[in-house]
Amino acid sequence: MPAYPVKIQPPSDDKRWGLVMATMKRHGYQSNAVIETLHTVQESFGFLEDDSLRFVSKALNVPLSKVYGVATFYHFFTLKPQGKHTCVVCMGTACYVKGAGEIMEAISQKYHVHPGETTENGNLSLVTARCIGACGLAPAGVFDGEVSGKLTPADTLTKLAKWE
């Protein structure tokens, strides 16, 4: 056994791993930096690949199943590549009462995606949120980072049609 743990090498020579390594270094490779590190992986790569999870698990000395548990517990993390565009539909109480369910239904039917999935052509990811804090605008959605309120199923589909 070496006196110091062997430095774990990233799974590829992709430059983005540098960012991930920097985050881990900033936290002194502490095992409590899992969430912080996964944040960086997700921001740099767009999603969490199996290899990324394995790397984080090894580098921070955290069991693999624990890293997977963390990655699936938080809605922010996604294990699949995201589409070109992202549509978040708020399913918070206020939005739900105001008809978020119907909006979701309309999108699912037209694009054949369930919440958390991406269309087959990789163009659209449909995501739900518990509450985006815009209850006054219920039902609300976020289209590529832009919040829209008082949506109806019809104008949601119009917005999405612009991305096609």
Partner: protein, 241 residues
């Protein structure tokens, strides 16, 4: 356990009866020592307590809210009641919700007659369920050479997670997802047989209160578990330190 050998003793009342206990004991430990029955599912002697199943809730005089017996330590003068109508109502409700969440079919279950969920349901007089069953679809993972994982029977007590982490030290198991999507998983949510960190020790199988984990090749009502090994192991390890 106090280091200097000074053990503080407290006296308290359990169901109106005076008992004495060490100050570092939990309500559950004291009740079990005094042969007072408290139902539990996630608790297991030798593992850490997480207070997740909420079956061990008790009433303490002067406190409006119920307290979990497995994680609450005793205090001087505490007055504990372990069976009331209110507690019975909640306990039955918890078990009913557990039954509705997955497919617990005792008659074809490998753990029939050896199941803690079944035992508690009989004891608490559950003959029907007031909420609709969800009938979720789950796969059975029989990829491991010696053991089988059946999510249909799992109650998410996380005993397997804790025994693997705390006693075996492998931490093969964990819980993925949240809420109704929560499931126990091995490593990267991969087939159990392909989990490299699994030492095939079978501790998880023996602590599982239901039929979610079983030895391969066992049929209906054959899943007898070894219950003595865990207190024994904890004792042995304690002496090593």
């Amino acid at each position: 356990m106090p280091v200097n050998g000074q053990i503080k003793i407290v006296t308290l009342k359990v169901n109106g009866k005076d008992v004495s206990a060490r100050a570092d004991q939990t309500i559950l430990q004291v009740c079990r020592e005094n042969e007072v029955f408290i139902p539990t599912l996630c608790h297991l002697e030798g593992l850490s307590n997480i207070g997740a199943c909420r079956l061990c809730m008790v009433e303490v005089a002067g406190q409006k809210k119920l307290l979990p017996a497995c994680t609450t330590t005793v205090n001087e003068g505490m007055e504990i009641t372990t069976t009331t109508d209110r507690l019975g109502h909640y306990r039955r409700m918890i078990l009913e919700l557990i039954f509705s969440e997955r497919n617990h079919t005792c008659s074809v279950c490998v753990s029939n007659n050896y199941c803690e969920l079944q035992f508690l349901s009989q004891k608490l007089g559950i003959d029907h369920i007031r909420v609709p069953y969800r009938f979720p679809k789950f796969n059975v993972d029989a990829s491991h050479p010696y053991f089988v994982l059946d999510h249909n029977r799992c109650i998410l007590c996380t005993r397997c997670v804790r025994v693997c982490d705390e006693i075996e030290g492998a931490h093969v198991w964990d819980v993925s997802g949240r809420g109704i999507q929560a499931r126990v998983i091995t490593e990267l949510n991969q087939p159990w047989g392909s989990a490299e960190t699994c030492t095939q020790c079978g501790k998880c199988v023996n602590v599982c209160p239901v039929g979610a984990l079983s030895d391969k090749g066992r049929s209906v009502a054959e899943n007898k578990k070894r219950s003595e090994f865990l207190p024994y192991l904890t004792q042995r390890r304690r002496e090593k330190i």
